[in-house]
């Protein structure tokens, strides 16, 4: 009875991945069937291509900064909603909204809020006097900032939920003991909470890194290929553009393979560096 599942996963998930590696060795038009074997030429071309290295750079900036802020804000938020205050369950529910809604909606909401003429954010910043002129959030200077802001907003709930679940299992005795020993709130966090949530953080950072590094829809939808698209063209967007705008399916596949190699390498290093004896 497991056969249909295995068959489907293998034919629709594993096979395409293998086929993608094969495809990356060809010069192949995205729509027409003609293809020509070119060996590693696609990879060689990319290595010398400045657009490719730019997208590696933007991808790195995007993943590293969004992961950092998600984790920090996520842990702080988890600490807050772990406290027993009135309306806690309401806040716990609402906080997860950004992660559950369709990405399209998240992007549309923020594009409206960050609209340079009629957006509420610019209005509030002007009204309070923080800025003198409206900021062009979707312009080339600020698009990366906007993208990071929106992504952190959309994805930090995952961190909150995972970390909170672990925090709830920390025995209160530990905090009492630390208090008796005279530890302040900060030291209690460093010496009691942090060691306890370490393992879950290990997994959360791993998953979020994989997902942010391969994030396509949030990045793509912000510009949909127009405007300041060039300044947030991360690797996944670049792979999409090569395939569906330049019609180079082979080149697009090569980019997907490169992403996969980077992921495997980074994951291996990450495990070597941080994983001690204990199981996840």
């Amino acid at each position: 009875m497991i056969a249909p599942s295995v068959l489907l996963i293998c034919s629709l998930l594993v096979y395409p991945v293998v086929y993608g590696i094969w495809l990356s060795l060809f010069k192949k038009h995205s729509f027409f069937p003609d293809q020509r074997f070119v060996g590693l030429a696609n990879y060689a071309y990319l290595m010398k291509n400045s657009d490719f290295w730019m997208s590696v750079w933007y991808g790195t900036v995007y993943s590293v900064s969004t992961i950092f802020f998600q984790i920090v804000i996520g842990i702080i938020a988890a600490l807050i909603v772990n406290e027993a205050f009135k309306g806690r369950n309401f806040v716990r529910g609402v906080i997860l909204f950004p992660y559950v809604i369709p990405t399209v909606v998240a992007i549309i909401l923020w594009k409206w809020l960050l609209n340079n003429q009629f957006g509420l954010v610019n209005y509030l910043l002007l009204a309070v006097g923080i800025i003198d002129d409206p900021i062009s959030w979707m312009g080339m200077d600020h698009i990366m900032t906007s993208l990071i802001l929106i992504s952190v907003w959309e994805f930090f709930p995952f961190v909150v939920l995972s970390v909170l679940a672990r925090m709830q299992t920390i025995p209160p005795v530990l905090y009492k003991a630390a208090k008796v020993d005279g530890a302040g709130a900060f030291r209690r966090f460093i010496h009691v909470t942090l060691p306890q949530i370490r393992n879950v953080l290990f997994v959360v950072i791993l998953l979020r890194s994989i997902w942010m590094f391969t994030k396509f829809d949030t990045v793509w939808l912000l510009t949909q290929g127009g405007g300041a698209e060039k300044y947030i063209r991360t690797l996944p967007v670049y792979a999409y553009m090569r395939t569906f705008m330049y019609y180079q399916a082979g080149m697009g596949s090569a980019l997907a393979v490169i992403m996969f190699i980077i992921l495997v390498a980074a994951t291996t290093i990450y495990f070597k560096m941080f994983r001690r004896e204990e199981e996840i």
Binding site: F85, F118, S253
Partner: protein, 280 residues
């Protein structure tokens, strides 16, 4: 649990303050979407902005239904998502049941196959997937979408369903078998009713994933009348003048089903997200 935080202490005020900021930061964009979608066009662009519509109107929704194919997109989304759920639940339940009840060669391999699929992000699959779908002549059909979603949802569904089936004691089935029930009867009358909450929760995760997806629709569907909501709404943007009122009302209608279902699965979120049910 009774609230223990004293609102009048320094610490209490700090926590209430932070909780308020968190709630506003996550919920306000949604409030703004609802507020905008009920405002008449001229009020949307008023400066300073009104937080609540001064004049309440349904004109935005009327335009959405009359001038766009929103209803078609909605029907397509419902059809594709529900078919995916039915298919995934049928195949997944059978697979998960056999994983927990029968010993067979390669059982452990299936488990590692599931974990390995964590590394596959849609962007890495979608290019070869598209080329393959094109080859077998299924490009631009809902079948292609359903195949993609089923393949993507099966790994986490199997993982989740397995834990639900594991929690049902074997003794119950044995008792039914001793009482003269056939294996099928034992499954239908004893196991499935007990596993139902878990199956429904897994189904909802699948639904949300299919409903929220953007990338597969963008790539696999080219005809306007076959598009689902996320791409349909994203394309409303490509109009020369962006009708914010209409877009906000559309966004609201996409979000509502997700949030309604979300309320039902709150209990299962940790298990679901941990199994990769959102992958993003």
């Amino acid at each position: 649990m009774t609230p223990k935080i004293n609102f009048f202490s320094m610490r209490g005020q700090f926590i209430y303050g932070c909780a308020a900021i968190l709630a506003v930061a996550t919920a306000f964009p949604f409030f703004w979407m609802v507020s905008t979608s009920f405002k008449p066009l001229q009020e949307i662009f008023v400066f300073p902005p009104h937080f609540f519509p001064a004049e309440f109107t349904l004109k935005n929704f009327e335009r959405l239904f009359e001038q766009t194919r929103f209803l078609t997109y909605f029907k397509n989304s419902v059809f594709v998502s529900f078919t995916t759920v039915m298919l995934t639940m049928t195949i997944g339940s059978a697979g998960a049941y056999s994983l927990t009840r029968f010993k067979f060669y390669g059982r452990e391999k299936v488990a590692s196959l599931i974990l390995f699929s964590y590394m596959f992000a849609p962007i890495m699959i979608v290019i070869p997937f598209y080329v393959l779908i094109k080859k077998i002549g299924l490009a631009n059909t809902h079948t292609a979408l359903i195949m993609a979603y089923t393949a993507f949802c099966l790994p986490f569904s199997l993982w989740l369903l397995r834990t639900f089936f594991q929690s049902i004691p074997l003794a119950l089935e044995k008792a039914a078998l001793i009482d003269g029930a056939s294996r099928l009867e034992a499954v239908v009358y004893v196991v499935l009713p007990l596993a139902l909450p878990g199956i429904i929760a897994t189904g909802i995760f699948t639904f949300i994933l299919a409903w929220n997806d953007y990338i597969f629709v963008r790539i696999l569907i080219t005809s306007d009348e076959l598009k689902t909501l996320s791409v349909g709404i994203a394309d409303l943007y490509n109009a020369t003048v962006i009708d914010w009122g209409m877009i906000m009302s559309g966004s609201m209608l996409i979000t509502v089903p997700v949030l309604v279902f979300f309320v039902f699965i709150q209990r299962y979120l940790i298990a679901g997200w941990g199994a990769g049910a959102m992958k993003g």
